[in-house]
């Protein structure tokens, strides 16, 4: 598994640099976005900016939003891309499951994107002498949010395996993602009896609001719910992907795009 992750990391990194114009424009865009955020312009942070007005939270919110959008769409769009260039079937000629392969691919791609973000942000912070302050506990709900999002990503990937072109569905799901992040479901009902906590990402989003906007400590009970939520949706995604892989093989659809 780790060998495959390293191989995917290398492949991702190499391909990024094999398209120099795209890589350069991506870097410049990221640079501009972070400069804008550091200058205090809030709206560029995306829907996750609602975690607070402070520059620290806006930057974390921006990185979070990017990470979630990537986690959600990367598997399906990766499958579409592989189908178009004619390498998809070779990926399934492996002793590893499709779920493992495409999840590892997405994680490797995510690592490359995050590395770019962190390096650019780090340089900007150094140059401007700015320091970011956020609680270390923030990484816990961040991780559960990303895991739950990969569950949605696997579900979209499952649709892509059978129905092929799912770009409009990915865009529609982004709207749902905005709602899941922005709506303060936790204020509707007490946590223990709140059915909204069964929706993907909701407990993680509530924790992020607690930590970033309200300045509260991490609630272990809500965190346990966030872990359960992440495991549940990741599991559902993995199951659906497996079912879809089987269906695609039964219908002879793997190669067609």
């Amino acid at each position: 598994m780790f060998d495959l992750f390293l191989a995917e990391l290398k492949r991702n990194w190499t391909i990024v640099w094999r398209y120099p114009l795209q890589a350069a424009s991506g870097l410049i865009l990221t640079l501009i976005l972070f400069m804008t955020l550091l200058a205090g312009i809030r709206y560029v942070a995306g829907p996750a900016a609602q975690y607070g007005d402070r520059m620290d939270t806006m930057i974390v919110g921006y990185v979070l939003w990017n990470t979630l959008v990537f986690a959600m769409g990367e598997i399906a769009s990766g499958l579409e891309g592989e189908g178009r260039i004619g390498t998809l079937e070779q990926l399934f000629l492996s002793p590893m499951t499709g779920t493992r392969i495409f999840l590892t691919r997405a994680l490797a791609g995510q690592t490359v994107v995050l590395t770019f973000n962190v390096v650019i942000l780090g340089i900007l912070l150094l140059v401007t002498g700015t320091r970011l302050h956020f609680p270390a506990a923030l990484f816990l709900p961040l991780a559960t949010a990303v895991c739950a999002c990969y569950g949605i990503g696997l579900t979209l990937g499952a649709l892509a395996l059978v129905y092929k072109r799912v770009a409009p569905i990915i865009q529609m799901t982004q709207f749902a993602l905005i709602a899941l992040i922005m709506v303060p479901f936790e204020s509707w009902q007490p946590t223990s009896a709140n059915p909204a906590f069964l929706l993907p990402l909701v407990p993680s989003a509530a924790l992020l609001r607690d930590l970033m906007a309200r300045g509260e400590a991490l609630d272990p009970f809500v965190f346990a719910m966030a872990v359960g939520n992440a495991v549940l949706f990741l599991g559902i995604g993995a199951l659906l992907f497996r079912v879809a892989e089987r269906a695609a093989k039964r219908q002879g659809l793997l190669a067609t795009y």
Binding site: D3, L4, L6, A7, E8, K10, R11, T14, I15, R18, Y19, I85, G86, T87, E89, Q90, L91, F92, L93, S94, P95, M96, T97, I101, R246, K249, R250, Q251, G252, L254, A255
Partner: protein, 307 residues
């Protein structure tokens, strides 16, 4: 030892409200070290069969066994399968030859160091050592195909599926691929090969099967299939001109004369009378007249059209 067993494979698709039987009761096997030519016109069911063998399409009925494992049920079977599929790139054109080998090695569970060492070896052997750091997109079609074959065998599979490996290649590249297929078979791998270049199949295959409308219409050892389709005829080449008395003698036998060659359609014992009639002309060659694979293929595929 048998590396592939295919028994009674069936596959149907629903298309445009109709059920199309793509493969109907296909059975064959491949021993290690054997090249098996799997031939048929476009749409006959070759690629569907190959993909069922690779576990990329699930059969509706029947059984595939690769080194005792079913690729549709047991992913471990893919460790023993290498494939170059027709109509696909198979490899990443934006990566170099070596990067492709290492990447696909990892995908098939080969540790990075081992993949790198084997990759270098394969590139050397495939005559691509000096292009190892070239992006695949910059290579000729023949070189790209060789890289795809190298990638397909990096994990040392027992069975190699080559769907149209010589398609679109020039003579030189085609010769290279033929040589590589022979070498891979000589290492003990079973090779399943599809091609429309029937001379290629005739040259390198030990076994042959022709599929038409999803069903095998002939299969067996290459020489026995060719012999089975050959007319009982001999071709005799001689030097010099036939005298009128020789022409008269030959006219009484089942012989066609064309310049310095004659074809005899009678029994083997009658051949000696033909040779006697040619005396004292110098004989250049006497050979059994054998059908070519192209003739066999055309005969079988014309039967379909009722020609």
């Amino acid at each position: 030892m048998r590396v592939l067993d295919v028994a009674d494979l069936h596959k149907s698709y629903r298309t445009g409200g109709k059920t199309v039987d793509a493969v109907r009761g296909v059975s064959f096997s491949i021993e290690e070290g054997e090249v098996f030519a799997f031939l048929g016109p476009n749409g006959a069911g070759k690629t569907t069969t190959i993909k069922m063998i690779a576990g990329l399409i699930e059969p509706a009925r029947g059984h595939v066994s690769v080194v005792g494992m079913n690729p549709s049920r047991d992913r471990e079977a893919t460790r023993h399968i290498g494939a170059v599929l027709e109509g696909s790139r198979n490899i990443y054109w934006r990566l170099t030859c070596l990067e492709n080998l290492i990447y696909f090695g990892a995908l098939r569970g080969v540790p990075r160091k081992v993949a790198r060492a084997r990759g270098m070896e394969l590139l050397e052997r495939f005559g691509l050592a000096d292009r190892r750091d070239s992006e695949v997109r910059t290579l000729s079609r023949g070189m790209q195909q060789k890289v795809a074959i190298a990638v397909s065998v990096l994990h040392e599979p027992r069975l190699v599926l080559l769907d149209e490996p010589t398609l679109g290649l020039d003579v030189r590249a085609s010769e290279d691929v033929k040589r590589l297929v022979r070498e891979l078979a000589a290492e003990g791998r079973g090779i399943l090969l599809t091609t429309h270049q029937l001379t290629v199949a005739e040259e390198i295959a030990d076994q042959v099967a022709v599929i038409r409308d999803g069903q095998l219409v002939v299969q067996g050892g290459m020489s026995s299939v060719l012999a089975g389709f050959s007319r009982s005829a001999y071709r005799v080449q001689f030097q010099g001109d036939l005298e009128p008395r020789q022409r008269q003698a030959l006219a009484r036998m089942e012989v066609e004369v064309d310049g310095d060659t004659l074809r005899y359609f009678g029994s083997a014992s009658g051949l000696y009378e033909v040779l006697q009639a040619l005396h004292p002309l110098e004989l250049v060659s006497v050979a059994r007249d054998q059908a070519s694979l192209t003739e066999v293929f055309l005969q079988l595929t014309h039967e379909k059209a009722g020609v």
